[in-house]
Symmetry: C2
Subunit: 193 residues, 2 copies
């Protein structure tokens, strides 16, 4: 087995276990068992558990944002793209094994004691906010709206994780529609539209 394949298998196992059980609840032995990569190789690839956690969060950040963007791309209308974010959330929440947002969970677990985790969580949320700001800008809408949509999306992730998935994304989407309409009425660039 070559280096790259082993790395992928380790990160696959890490993602499944860290996301599903929490970071501290998963030992390096668990990663080894699930990935089939020996401890020696594991430590050649990632010198410490902390590095592995960092790599897990980084890779998941890229794939999470890519998946979101790919879904949003399927919609051409700038305002529809904003709503599409919440459609995608609904789809994500319904995936088997959904257990809330990996960064919110990691931050709750280790934000106070691990600079790595705190930084990764901040970077991810900043990137998500920037993405929403891009969407609202493309629709000629304010950055304020993006901030409000961020709150709705974060609230939906948390609530779906803790209280369960039923209806949460739809609620968030309905609220997003209202905020979007309200912002469109006051749209700075084309108020008459």
């Amino acid at each position: 087995m070559d280096q790259g394949a082993a790395r992928d298998q380790v990160l696959d196992a890490a993602e499944e276990l860290f996301y599903g059980r929490g970071i501290q609840a998963v030992g390096m032995d668990d990663i080894r068992s699930l990935s089939g990569v020996s401890l020696k190789r594991l430590y050649q690839l990632f010198a410490t558990k902390d590095r592995l956690v960092e790599a897990y969060l980084e890779r998941r950040d890229l794939s999470w944002r890519r998946r979101l963007a790919e879904h949003v791309e399927t919609c051409a209308d700038p305002e529809g793209r904003i709503i599409a974010v919440f459609d995608w959330l609904e789809r994500w929440f319904a995936e088997p094994g959904f257990r809330g947002c990996a960064w919110i969970n990691s931050f709750g677990e280790l934000g106070a004691t691990s600079a790595t985790v705190a930084t990764q969580a901040r970077l991810h949320k900043l990137a998500f906010r920037r993405y929403l700001e891009g969407l609202t800008a493309d629709a000629g809408l304010s950055r304020e709206l993006a901030g409000q949509l961020l709150l709705l999306a974060e609230g939906a992730m948390v609530t779906a994780g803790i209280l369960g998935v039923t209806g949460t994304a739809a609620q968030a989407r309905a609220a997003a529609r209202l905020l979007l309409e309200s912002a469109a009425r006051a749209r700075p660039t084309s108020p008459a539209e």
Copy 2:
């Protein structure tokens, strides 16, 4: 020192440490050092760490909801009371040592492995949702609105915890006002008001 005072001191220490650092990062020795209550007494009061965690979350749930309700009570207008929730969030976020929502953080840390923590988090969020539903009902507004406000409040807590406090509560309040106006326009009980 009598039993009750020792219990209070232990719970005070537990709250400060568990909330500030996370549950797994705090040992029973840390609780003992900060509270000044010996290990023997500590285990007489709480048979296991799990019980202590449960008591911490229960007591904090009561005081958190009491503090919120006390602030909301100061406002007589039913719609003003709804907005007052977000005023109180702003005040809470600004407290020194604010580190997000204790239940969201605990759930992220232990929701997957501890039934105690998962249950406490669900109970707390259910109680908060019920409270918001009471406020919207008092204003003659729909339960749907309460669900949307819950998402905003949860999103604000998470975002304030991870990205920092600046402006988050004000954003949430602005969004809440818009949703409230929109719901008031469609108010089922007194649509003309």
